[in-house]
């Protein structure tokens, strides 16, 4: 068990190392991104340019530069942005995290609830008119471009119907939970719904398939032969087993979203979360921030993978001895 955990940890480290090298190489290989000229200011004279280059260690060989950057990021934890000089990367990430967490946790609650309800309902109503109808909603949710949906939602709530139905909708942006919980929820409402709509469809469709499979399993027949109620069979037996693959998928999705995959939603709704931070950094080619956020994202994906394994064992006793 310990050796397994160590191996797992080792491979996670390797993955993160590879990602950091990849990001570093990608961005230093691009012409026009030499940060020296941008840091020094436009039309700076050569002496100043050289001075900046030296003070940022940009005149050192690439491996040294990589090591320096990683040291500042991980050991000294004082890596600074190339664009917003003096703005440290780690506090930026720390600040952006609650925004992303607010978005993702709220949306996840909505989409898991909706997904489970829709999926289970469709599975049990199989053969009736409601099933294809629910699944159509699911397919539409999966097929909508996230950013487009966000923009249209903004258009409707901020302009078309802002003077009538949606006059209570605040302008896009973020208000801290500790600052004003009511405003927080109000600001997050449409981002939550938008993100949740996209994922609810995926989960509803997946769960429907799983529940239908489960309902045809022998153990469901056993449960029925035991004289259990249909409700209990559905929830305690069929759904309980169907949730295992769903939960593992959820872990991966959640990890990726916390890591910044909700980028489009954050950008469209002006939420200063990890995704937006990364996106802005990419727009600015602000390598230190890109490095920080990408590693942070990769960390969450790797972490989510590990947590999913543990959770899997919790949920499925068969996996415990694997």
């Amino acid at each position: 068990m310990l050796s397994f955990a160590l191996k797992r940890f080792g491979s996670a480290l390797l993955v993160m190392f590879a990602i950091s090298v990849l990001v570093f190489l990608i961005f230093f290989a691009t012409p026009g991104v030499d940060p020296a000229a941008r840091i020094a200011g436009r039309n700076a004279d050569p002496a100043t340019l050289a001075q900046v280059r030296h003070s940022f260690g940009l005149d050192r060989p690439m491996p040294i530069r990589y090591l320096l950057m990683m040291r500042h990021l991980l050991i000294d934890r004082d890596l600074e942005s190339f664009v917003n000089r003096g703005s440290r990367v780690i506090p930026q990430i720390v600040q952006a995290t609650p925004v992303t967490l607010s978005l993702v946790i709220g949306a996840a609650l909505i989409w898991m609830t909706a997904g489970i309800l829709m999926g289970t309902a469709a599975a049990t109503l199989r053969g009736k008119a409601a099933d294809p109808l629910i699944m159509l909603v699911g397919v539409v949710g999966v097929s909508l471009p996230a950013y487009w949906l966000g923009e249209v939602v903004n258009l409707i709530t901020q302009k078309q119907l802002h003077s009538s139905v949606f006059s209570w909708v605040p302008p896009p942006g973020y208000v801290g939970l500790s600052q004003d919980p009511g405003q927080w929820a109000l600001h997050m409402l449409f981002p939550w719904l938008t993100l949740a709509l996209l994922y609810a469809g995926i989960y509803a469709r997946l769960l429907r398939g799983e529940v239908i499979t489960a309902l045809n399993e022998d153990y469901v027949r056993t449960a029925r032969a035991k004289g259990l109620s249909e409700r209990r069979i559905l929830i305690r037996h069929a759904l309980r087993c169907s949730l295992i693959p769903i939960v593992s998928l959820f872990g991966l999705d959640f990890g990726a979203l916390v890591g910044g995959a909700a980028l489009l939603t954050e950008v469209v709704f002006g939420l200063p979360g990890i995704g937006k931070l990364t996106y802005d950094a990419l727009q600015n080619l602000d390598l230190p921030v890109i490095m920080g956020t990408v590693l942070y994202a990769a960390f969450f994906v790797v972490l989510a993978n590990a947590l999913v394994d543990i959770l899997y064992a919790r949920l499925d006793p068969r996996a415990r001895h694997a």
Partner: protein, 578 residues
């Protein structure tokens, strides 16, 4: 100075926006930008009107899509913060903080009077005002002034090597910033309360260089490196309470400020200024419309302009800028190493189309010369308009096609490099479409605003046609013609080669040198020479002037006393929110 700011920069953060820096005393006081159609509802307060205490108080709320980086006044080189520094930091001299043309005038600020200039223009002696304190309570001394000059070099200020390299000892400081003393360059006399600056050669523009934020005076114990997000103590009416580039900047009153010169550093009206970052530009507009914010930094997006211009007309202030947007034609690469091909482009471009793409004729006007209208040296002339004339009226596509044919360059590939924000990209798409019409195989390459400007300068990237813009540093023709199109500003292989077209004509270069010399003695004569040089360069057609832009300030309903400094734009401290 290129201003990397354009209308419609939605979703694109321009953290490295540079500043339009104007340096002049009286050279430009005659005209106000040529375009008289200023529909702005601003009331012009020429000169320094008296402080009106009934409007004092309140919190001014500003919004911007993104912050502008380091808050160190000696490092930051962006319009966004220079605009704020007006009412925060002071140098020995300052631009007059007033509305209109007067704002180009330099007046004494921390210095009690304009300097005594001796030694053939090489020695400047300043006497400090008494009783000025930093916001941390410490009194300002000559030591602070001397340390601040040294600090310009210690923090590798962007202009250290271009503005302040004429100070004695600057060479050593540029080479070894850490041990910079400016020995013999800047010396203070605490007893006499004077500071003396020695230059290696006379510099008629030196006074203006002392009036920009890089020459701000900060406490002598300020860190010898970029202060970044930890704002330094101020001398002006406001100081920074907190700064987080991802969230907000909060300015509050400097408790130690007492107005010493109304024209150099007037008392501010609002008690606090909250500057928040990170909203989308669309929601900035909404916020200002709803009164949740008082002013937005970013240009409003195209689809909100009409609304702003009609429903909110009284809250919009439009001011012309002495700047131009232009396309560069690489004279060292096919097809634009052919003069006829270059001229064809100048004939073909429909400036009125570009004006429309920029937001309509009230936001920009067609350009046909390098020097903007109303600028020293500008002469109405246009070689490339249909049917001839002094100003541009219509494109001549037939002539352009004939020229392309004559040049034999039809069918060649042309890459167009533009910034990837809405306005630049749409102008780029127009140019691409136009070049295709002319018979070229045109491709468009939109790049992030942050790298496009360095990318197009470097000859290694083989850019044939680039879209860019230039905003005045100071209203002297040399700032456009000499900086943008002289042999000296062409550095092959460097990211810093502002002569993007790679245009280098020995004859014209010599004429520019003559004009520069003339300007030391005869400004009017020099301007005439510059006008001729402009026309001569346009005949060679290395660049395609497109438009002269205007700036919109969109303020909330409650804001009063809008004043626009030609130097640093809207004056925050003078706005009324009560």
């Amino acid at each position: 100075m290129p201003l990397a700011m354009s209308r419609g920069t939605r979703r694109v953060a321009f953290a490295a926006t540079t500043v339009a820096l104007a340096l002049t005393v009286a050279a430009c006081s005659s005209s106000d930008g040529g375009t008289s159609s200023d529909p702005s509802a601003s009331t012009s307060g020429s000169g320094s009107s008296a402080f009106q205490p009934e409007h004092k108080g309140g919190t001014l709320k500003l919004v911007a899509h993104a912050a502008a980086g380091s808050f160190d006044p000696q490092v930051n080189y962006t319009l966004q913060y220079w605009q704020l520094y007006q009412s925060m930091y002071d140098g020995l001299l300052a631009f007059k903080k007033v509305d209109g043309q007067q704002s180009f005038t330099v007046v004494p600020d921390l210095a009690a009077a304009m300097p005594k200039v001796t030694n053939g223009g090489k020695t400047y002696t300043f006497t400090l005002r008494k009783g000025i304190s930093f916001s941390n309570g410490k009194a300002l001394t000559t030591d602070d002034v001397v340390a601040s000059f040294q600090r310009i070099f210690k923090v590798s200020s962007p202009t250290a090597g271009t503005f302040y390299n004429g100070i004695v000892g600057a060479d050593a400081c540029l080479k070894k910033p850490a041990s910079c003393t400016l020995e013999g360059g800047v010396t203070g006399d605490a007893k006499a309360n004077t500071v003396t600056v020695n230059l290696t050669a006379a510099d008629p523009e030196f006074e203006y260089k002392l009036a920009v934020p890089h020459a701000s005076v900060v406490p002598k114990d300020s860190p010898a490196k970029d202060a970044g997000t930890k704002p330094l103590p101020t001398t002006g009416p406001y100081m920074a309470a907190s700064y987080d580039p991802n969230r907000a900047l909060k300015l509050v009153r400097n408790p130690h400020f007492k107005e010493w010169s109304r024209q150099a550093q007037p008392e501010g009206y609002p008690d606090a200024i909250d500057y928040t970052f990170g909203q989308t530009v669309e929601s900035e507009v909404t916020a200002v419309q709803n009164g949740q914010a008082d002013w937005m930094y970013d240009p409003p997006p195209a689809d909100r302009l009409n609304e702003i211009g009609t429903k909110y007309a009284s809250q919009a202030h439009v001011n012309p800028l002495t700047a131009f947007w232009y396309a560069t034609l690489n004279v060292n690469m096919a097809p634009f190493n052919n003069k006829l091909a270059r001229q064809a482009i100048n004939y073909a471009v429909d400036r009125s189309a570009v004006v429309r793409l920029y937001g309509g004729k009230n936001l920009a006007s067609p350009a046909c010369t390098i020097l903007p209208p109303g600028f020293p040296g500008h002469v109405d002339s246009c070689d490339y308009t249909k049917g001839g004339g002094k100003t541009w009226t219509a494109a001549d596509l037939a002539k352009a096609k004939a020229l392309v044919k004559k040049s034999g360059t039809a069918g060649q590939e042309v890459g167009i490099v533009v910034q990837d924000d809405d306005v630049n990209k749409s102008i780029g798409q127009y140019l691409q479409s136009l070049l295709t019409q002319l018979g070229y195989k045109a491709t468009l390459k939109p790049l992030s605003g942050n790298i496009q400007f360095t990318y197009i300068q470097n000859t290694k990237n083989k850019v044939q046609l680039a879209l860019t813009s230039w905003y005045q540093d100071y209203p002297a023709a040399s700032d456009f013609l000499n900086v943008l199109l002289s042999c000296a500003s062409y550095h092959p292989g460097s990211d810093s080669s502002i002569n993007i077209a790679g245009f280098c004509d020995k004859g014209i270069d010599a004429k520019m040198q003559t004009a520069l010399k003339t300007s030391q003695t005869d400004q009017a004569g020099a301007d005439k020479q510059w006008g001729a040089i402009d026309q001569e360069i346009m005949a060679e057609s290395p660049v395609v002037p497109l438009i002269n832009p205007k700036l919109i300030d969109f303020t909330s309903k409650r804001v009063g006393n809008y004043q626009f400094s030609k130097q640093f734009y809207m004056l925050f401290g003078q706005l009324w929110v009560k």
